[in-house]
């Protein structure tokens, strides 16, 4: 082919319209196919998203069902505490439990409840499916948590001091009024208990109304007496989480009085750093990091004039004035209770550091009064839940 003929063939436009149209048709066909494919996938994607959301909600339902079972051991479908050796269905994961609403099945779940690392912990594995566990396609979501029951420490006395105890003035510790949790002493101490020459009195449930007997205030008790009276770090973290949830978590030096009132519930006053005392090992937390709490007159926020709850102090606690309380005091440091206040419930001091100058770990003076009340201590005057709750930091979601 001559160069001239080649040039003429390339530049000649005659006969190009149809090929161009065919090319356009091919391009349009490709667009149509792509458009169709993309638009057809949109409902599928949205439906998958809905199924995942349904599966997740049903996994939550499984978790709630397990918590209900743990908190209702006496009911049909409940789980005994402590857990039985053979976990009954459906809590052993053997049974698919359908979840319906309005007569229509949305999905179902399988749930496994097992013992945890501690006796009061439970491990829960909850699997939720939508629309069920055999359909295709199906969505599966798994939630794992550790449930933890806030232990009531059930102290052996109205006032339990893991150090020495000193009472003076007209102060009184009295455990006679409530035997619902067994026979309790007035006070129990690791060190010596010193009762001043005034009218200070300690009464226990020892069958008489004679004050300050050894049976009223057992002293120099072995360390083992106090071993069960401490919360683990996990339990303290749980209590912190509960306090945070209600806005009653504080740190460092805190004063409750008419200008800052103490609200009902779990009140947690943490260390300055926010770390648990000696979490890194015995003696690792300096005393300067300890909390320091002072409670004065008109401190309760409750209009009834009495604080109801658990007061947990990661350090020392000083009470003065006419502070009224129903519940449990748990101090990791020392206690000073003066004035005319009254605590109905129980008081536990852990005295994690020896007091300076050999002074006692707990002192009561003035007209301070502690009256044992098991129900008040257990429930924080009706403000503290006693069932299984989700342990902070253990909630995990997994896609199936």
């Amino acid at each position: 082919m001559s160069p001239r003929a080649l040039t003429a063939m390339v530049t000649d436009r005659r006969g190009s319209a149809l090929p161009m149209a065919m090319l356009a048709l091919i391009v349009l066909s490709a667009l149509i196919l792509a458009f169709s494919a993309l638009s057809a996938s949109e409902p599928v994607i949205a439906n998958n998203q809905l199924m995942v959301a349904q599966a997740r909600a049903i996994a939550e339902a499984a978790l709630e069902r397990a918590l209900w079972a743990l908190n209702n051991p006496g009911l049909a479908g409940g789980l005994a505490n402590p857990l039985p050796g053979a976990i009954p269905a459906p809590y052993d994961g053997s049974q698919f439990v359908a979840v319906t609403t309005g007569g229509a099945s949305i999905g179902g779940f399988r749930v496994i409840v097992a013992g945890g690392a501690a006796p009061h912990e439970r491990s829960i594995t909850a699997d939720g499916w939508a629309p069920n566990d055999s359909a295709t396609p199906r969505a599966k979501q798994r939630i794992t948590v550790t449930a933890l029951q806030i232990r009531f420490l059930d102290p052996p006395a109205a006032l339990s001091v893991r150090a020495g105890l000193e009472l003076s003035g007209d102060s009184t510790v009295d455990a006679r009024a409530d035997a619902s949790c067994g026979s309790k002493a007035g006070s129990v101490s690791l060190g010596a208990t010193t009762v001043g020459s005034g009218t200070a009195a300690v009464y226990g449930q020892d069958g008489n109304n004679v004050k300050n007997q050894d049976t009223d205030a057992p002293q120099n008790q072995p360390e083992s007496t106090f071993d069960a009276l401490g919360y683990s770090n996990a339990e303290l973290n749980m209590l912190k989480a509960l306090a945070r949830a209600t806005g009653t978590y504080y740190r460092g030096a805190v004063t409750f009085d008419s200008s800052r009132r103490i609200p009902n519930g779990i009140v947690y006053v943490d260390t300055v750093s926010g770390h648990n005392i000696d979490a890194a090992g015995p003696g690792t937390t300096p005393v300067s990091d300890f909390a320091s709490v002072s409670i004065g007159d008109e401190a309760p926020a409750d209009p009834g004039g009495a604080f109801s709850g658990w007061l947990i102090v990661a350090g020392s606690l000083s009470i003065s004035g006419s502070f009224q309380m129903r519940g449990l005091v748990y101090a990791l440091g020392d206690l000073s209770h003066a004035g005319a206040g009254q605590i109905e419930g129980a008081v536990i001091t852990r005295n994690l550091r020896a007091a300076a100058g050999g002074s006692p770990g707990a002192t009561l003076s003035g007209a301070a009064r502690i009256t044992y009340g098991c129900g008040q201590a257990r429930t924080g005057g009706g403000q503290v839940p006693g069932g299984f709750l989700i342990k902070p930091g253990t909630y995990k979601e997994q896609a199936g």
């Binding site: 319209a17 409902p43 339902a61 069902r65 439990v97």
Partner: protein, 164 residues
């Protein structure tokens, strides 16, 4: 005769007409796909939005307080399947029919069943357990436009809640 076959006069018009016909076929095919594709995209959009709105409400319900100690019930329960949940005299999660803009095309309802009622919930009959159902409904589009008035589709989420 050979001269007539080689004569190209008038061929451009025929070519262009044929090309227009071919392109026309393509455009008609494309036009017929557009409503179906639009339906698919719209359906995906509406269902995704409905799922989002249902999840949003479920999170709000999940965070409601329902405790024995202290006694608190911000969850409530529905007196009937047609009624929003109530705690005392207060409606805890009122019906949203329709939702505020930009979701005016959706309605959202919460129904909370007291599991102590006959039938219970997933095998449990106890007042300390409730079943929450969140329904988000919308008017779907079909390949030929909107469905007749009253026809709706919905995203439904349900879960159990136990009293703490």
């Amino acid at each position: 005769m050979p001269i007539r076959l080689r004569n190209e006069n008038g061929m451009t018009l025929a070519e262009v007409l044929a090309a227009v016909a071919v392109v026309g076929i393509g455009l008609v095919a494309l036009a017929s796909v557009i409503p179906l594709a639009a339906y698919g995209i719209q359906e995906g959009n509406q269902l995704s939005t409905a799922t989002f709105l249902a999840n949003q409400r479920m999170e709000q319900v999940r965070s409601a307080t329902w405790t024995t100690l202290p006694a608190a019930d911000d969850l409530g329960s529905s007196p009937s399947t047609l009624t929003a949940p109530q705690s005392g005299s207060a409606t805890t999660f009122p019906d949203e029919s329709p939702l505020a803009a930009p979701y005016a095309g959706y309605t959202r309802t919460v129904r909370i069943r007291d599991c102590s009622l006959a039938g219970g919930c997933s095998g449990v009959q106890d007042a300390d357990l409730r079943q929450v159902t969140v329904t988000v409904a919308y008017a779907p589009m079909t390949g030929i436009g909107r469905t007749p008035a009253g026809a709706t589709k919905s995203a439904v989420l349900t879960m159990l809640v136990s009293k703490r």
